[in-house]
């Protein structure tokens, strides 16, 4: 860990302004990801701006019947919120499938969205890694890649985004609200928050330097059966090999009136292809074919394609009831 200075921001705009003006500044929320990375010197911020205590920890209803989730709402509190459980079940389910009870008590909404990859080479500073050290190469390609991505990846990086929560938010069409260093605010569709790696895998989001996430808003409830199925090597406390977030409206010809689906564990961002959802009535095979049409798996993680298809099939069966 490098020596760093620390301060508590006084307002969201203050936090953003400082983060943009102080060299090497970073926000710290729950710290469950950032501190681990600092200990390994994978993150080396010179200055930490604590964004706890800015009043960003509330869940409120929006005028149009949706929900506005403060950036600092803890994962545990979000999962337990009765409105979330009632109307956004997929989100509640995704949250409790992540990490452990202790971590969820501390982890925040914004921190969860911005957590970094779990690629093992990213975590070992001795190894080349384009994400950690741009231009050094990608050790995972040709190395151990069982956990890594199959779609949306690039020649430079095949890492996945490890969040469960974000996959559910993607299927819910969440918007990410921010305040920029100049004080202006904007709302980013969650689909546009995370970038694909291309040849700059170290640039992970479309946020600008100093831009602070203040909230995530969910549109008004869409109903449907909302499921999150996370597949992993052990029963708890493991990142997804593949996860499926789905909202399915039972009914119609094949038992499915309409549906939405996003995948976790397969790509550098929550993976959703809206066009593929038109095939929902034809079943999991057709949908997965659309979702993973451009997949370029490694020998180690090719199984994820079949696994995604079968997991979605199980989810659809469950949703039909």
């Amino acid at each position: 860990m490098k020596p760093f200075t620390y301060e508590r921001a006084t307002s969201p705009a203050d936090a953003a302004a400082k983060a943009a003006s102080i060299p090497g500044a970073r926000f710290i929320a729950g710290g469950t990801n950032l501190l681990d990375l600092m200990k390994l010197q994978i993150e080396t911020p010179a200055h930490l701006i604590d964004v706890n205590g800015l009043g960003l920890d509330k869940i409120e209803e929006t005028p149009d019947g949706g929900l506005r989730i403060g950036a600092l709402v803890r994962n545990t509190d979000l999962a337990a919120d009765i409105r979330v459980r009632r109307h956004y079940g997929v989100l509640s389910r995704a949250l409790v499938a992540g990490a452990s009870g202790q971590l969820r008590n501390v982890a925040t909404t914004a921190g969860n969205l911005l957590q970094r990859t779990r690629c093992p080479y990213f975590y070992d500073p001795n190894q080349p890694c384009n994400k950690r050290q741009p231009g050094s190469g990608c050790s995972a390609i040709g190395g151990i890649s069982r956990q890594l991505g199959v779609v949306g990846t690039s020649e430079a990086c095949i890492a996945t985004h490890p969040s469960d929560m974000a996959v559910a938010m993607r299927v819910l069409d969440a918007m990410v609200e921010t305040v920029r260093p100049g004080g202006a605010t904007r709302a980013i569709p969650i689909a546009d928050l995370h970038r694909l790696p291309g040849d700059t895998p170290h640039v992970e989001t479309t946020l600008e330097q100093g831009e602070l996430i203040t909230a995530v808003t969910l549109p008004k409830p869409v109903g449907g059966v909302q499921l999150y199925h996370k597949v992993r090597d052990r029963a708890s406390y493991a990142f997804a090999l593949v996860s499926v977030a789905a909202i399915v409206q039972p009914g119609g010809t094949n038992g499915i009136a309409w549906g939405r689906v996003a995948l976790g564990g397969v790509a550098p961002k929550p993976w959703r292809v809206e066009a593929a959802e038109a095939h929902m009535k034809q079943g999991a095979k057709a949908v997965t074919a659309g979702l993973l049409a451009d997949a370029r798996p490694t020998a180690d993680n090719r199984f994820k394609i079949k696994l995604a298809e079968r997991t979605l099939a199980a989810v659809l069966t469950e949703a039909r009831g």
Binding site: M1, K2, P3, K39, L40, Q41, R118, P120, Y121, Y123, D124, N126, Q127, S139, G142, G143, I144, R146, H229, V231, R232, D233, R234, A235, S236, Y237, A238, F239, L241, G283, A284, F303, K306, L307, R310, T311, A313, A314, T317
Partner: protein, 731 residues
């Protein structure tokens, strides 16, 4: 005390304290967080500085240049130790690679430097400022690729009985299958940690070490100082599983750091360093051939195993149990050792048997299926009461068949449908599996000192260790039983090299041998007590804090009224272990469910029926067995150190990447101990259970998975990607 004839009735047989389910006497210290572990001994010596180890960034090659100037100049830094200023170092007998590398590098994360600073954070930060240039060399990292070049290991010749090749070729029913087990890490809770302090030329190490006496000798050999100048203190150890059998870099670097810094230094290995810096259970490739008559009698059994290690290392003795477990006139067992430049392979809980049975007990299941026999029946039919390699050499006790029969009864084995993939509950495919468990009982000398004071308090001192197994308690039980006092009249002091040399903790030999040593010392103390109290004639009775003989009774404490009585003795063994084969046995039963969509495998029930001599403390013995079953489940389903075959290291070197079971993975576990005493083993008539519990579990899981889905996975761990292609079609 020499133990060379089977034990007759002795004070332990009273079973007033021994054999009773007893809470750990060190339990309150553990649950209140006050048991002093090595890194937390802030009070033992003043002015402790912090050391941080830098591990090699390459697996094989040389350091061409090292620049420590920036680290030395960093805030708070007191000293930097590298091979250049460490002086001439030897190598411990139990180490294969040296603990401080440079200029030659033998494996990834081999220690190359230690930074000592005022705070941990300063040491860690400065460590990152050390610049090391390496000249990497090509190494061998792939066991499968190195297999053909593997050689017979020193001291491990092939073992043949009869004509294996001929008998196998002639057998009407044959199995020839190859299995693999991966490299595994101990992944114990407490990392390797040491505080070192020099007083002149005398060195004290507060450390986490399972084998104090080995440790003293290896520190002596490494630092080139006499053993008299070394003291190791290790009263509490947060798990070891074999990972702490040997002195590791934390101890050496702390000692070197303290020397250079001129003040005490503490060092703990960070979790990401542990997997490559220390030892691991080596991967194996195992070929098993079994030939049998149509009635199911084994006529030929062959087991060959390939493993790798650094030059000068040892093979994983995965064929060990096959020499002993089943009958069969024609036998072949062989091991081949390849040179690999991965980190050092060494003992991990039940070395040999744990991976060996993972293969052998699948093979037995496969063979039973070929024969159309029930796998329990097949095992019982080939049971033996003598060493199959040395007919006429009996087992001291062997209740394997009884373990399997009782287990079958309790588990409801009869409800298993032997046809694979035929039991289904909704989304889940259900399977049951069985395997035999087997682990030898090793006898080795062990000493203790016992003191009696004027309050009637008995204090035991031995350099024996308690690695979380419950040693404190069984030693207290032994002393209480022998001296005829209640448990709270016994104090136990362990893990200090100034105490008599014990057997240490390893190979599941700790419980039987260390308590037998304590028993020997107590019997000597009884003589001293009797003499002191003037009971010279008949053998006096020791009970309820009193000593009585010929109608006279006196308080035990009376014997120490003029001063403490002290007795020291050791247990040493004759040749009963040559005359008899001494082993422990289990029947492991497992029920799994497999998600028919995703292939996720989850355990539903586990049962172990164990026959392991007298169970000294059923409560801690059960804890040992359920812990070992959990580890066996991990080996079966998830544990694998993933080798980067290009760069030669274990990639998943933290607890997020190296998955071990969590609570949600482990279902109801039942443990049954058969009523058994083994007078051939020791005066305690006990054996070990700490490793038996893992032996066979992996195969029981594998066999249950096969029963559930009809897919025979022969490469551990059995992860869902290996079964996915064979699951039922989905609609």
């Amino acid at each position: 005390m020499k133990f060379d004839t089977p034990a007759a009735t002795n004070p332990i047989d009273q079973l007033k304290v021994v054999g009773k389910a007893t809470d750990r006497i060190d339990g309150p210290l553990k649950t209140t967080g006050t048991a002093p572990y090595a890194y937390e001994r802030h009070d033992v010596v003043a002015n402790q500085a912090y050391g941080f180890i830098v591990g090699s960034a390459i697996a094989k090659g040389r350091i061409s240049r090292m620049d420590v100037a920036a680290a030395k100049a960093a805030p708070g830094v007191i000293a930097v130790v590298t091979a250049e200023n460490a002086g001439t170092l030897g190598k411990g007998k139990w180490n294969t690679a040296v603990l401080l590398g440079g200029p030659e590098i033998q494996h990834y994360h081999q220690a190359v430097a230690l930074v000592v600073a005022e705070t941990f954070e300063q040491a860690r930060d400065a460590a990152s400022l050390i610049r090391v240039d390496y000249q990497a060399e090509a190494g061998a990292y792939d066991l499968a690729a190195a297999r053909d070049g593997a050689a017979v290991a020193k001291g491990e010749p092939d073992s043949t009985v009869g004509d294996f090749t001929g008998a196998y070729a002639a057998a009407p029913v044959q199995l020839d299958a190859t299995y693999t087990t991966p490299d595994q890490g101990h992944a114990m809770m407490e990392p390797h940690a040491t505080i070192a302090a020099w007083n002149g030329d005398k060195l004290t190490l507060w450390t986490a070490n399972q084998m104090i006496n080995w440790g003293v000798k290896d520190v002596s050999q490494t630092l080139n100082i006499p053993v008299e100048n070394i003291r190791l203190i290790s009263p509490y150890i947060g798990g070891g599983f074999g990972g702490k059998l040997f002195v590791r870099s934390d101890a050496l670097m702390a000692a070197l750091g303290a020397k250079v810094a001129g003040r005490p230094v503490k060092v703990a290995l960070t979790r990401p360093l542990m997997f490559n810096n220390t030892t691991h259970r080596p991967a194996t490739i195992q070929r098993i051939r079994i030939g049998a008559t149509r009635e199911g009698r084994i006529t030929a059994i062959g087991h060959e195993s390939w493993s790798g290690d650094l030059p000068g290392g040892k093979p994983e003795t995965a064929v060990q149990q096959t020499r002993l477990l089943y009958a069969g006139a024609n036998r072949l067992t062989a091991m081949r050792l390849a040179v690999l430049d991965l980190p050092e392979g060494n003992a991990m809980r039940a070395p040999g048997e744990a991976p060996g049975l993972m293969a052998l007990e699948i093979a037995m299941d496969e063979m039973a299926e070929k024969l159309g026999m029930d796998p329990i029946q097949f095992r019982i039919l080939n049971d033996t009461q003598e060493d199959p390699e040395k007919p006429g050499r009996p087992y001291s006790q062997r209740q394997l068949a009884e373990c399997l029969r009782q287990g079958a009864e309790r588990f409801g084995w009869a409800k298993r449908n032997p046809k694979p993939a035929s039991m289904r509950e909704g989304r889940w495919l259900v399977g049951m599996g069985v395997a035999a468990g087997f682990r030898n009982n090793l006898v080795t000398k062990s000493a203790a000192r016992v003191r009696l004071d004027g309050q009637g308090m008995v204090t035991v001192e031995t350099d024996m260790t308690d690695i979380g197994t419950g040693t404190y308690t069984i030693i207290a039980q032994t002393a209480a039983e022998t001296m005829g006092v209640p448990l709270d009249k016994v104090a136990v002091r362990l893990g200090d090299s100034s105490f008599p040399v014990s057997c240490g903790s390893g190979g599941q030999w700790g419980a039987n041998n260390s308590t037998a040593g304590v028993y020997a010392a107590c019997m000597k103390l009884r003589q001293a007590v009797a003499r002191k109290l003037g009971f010279n004639a008949a053998e006096p009775q020791f009970a309820d804090g009193h000593v009585s003989s010929g109608g006279h009774t006196m308080p035990l404490a009376q014997a120490a009224k003029d001063g403490e009585l002290v007795a020291e003795d050791l247990i040493e063994y004759g040749d009963l272990d040559k005359k008899y084969q001494q082993s422990t046995f289990a029947g492991h039963f497992v029920e799994v469910v497999v998600d028919s969509a995703t292939g996720e495998i989850r355990l539903r029930r586990m049962l172990a029926v164990c026959a392991a001599g007298r169970i000294l403390n059923p409560k801690s013995a059960r804890s040992q067995v359920i812990g070992a079953m959990t580890m066996g489940a991990g080996a079966a389903l998830m544990e694998e150190l993933a080798v980067d075959k290009r760069r030669g290291f274990f990639v998943n070197h933290d607890l997020a990447g190296y998955e071990v079971p969590v609570h949600a993975d482990i279902p109801h576990q039942e443990v049954v101990f058969l009523d058994e005493v083994d007078p051939i083993s020791s005066p305690m008539k006990a054996k070990g259970v700490g490793e038996l519990g893992i032996c066979g579990v992996g195969a029981a899981v594998a066999n249950a998975v096969y029963n559930a889905i009809g897919v025979r996975v022969r490469d551990y761990p059995i992860t869902l990607d290996k079964v996915l292609d064979h699951l039922p079609e989905m609609t």
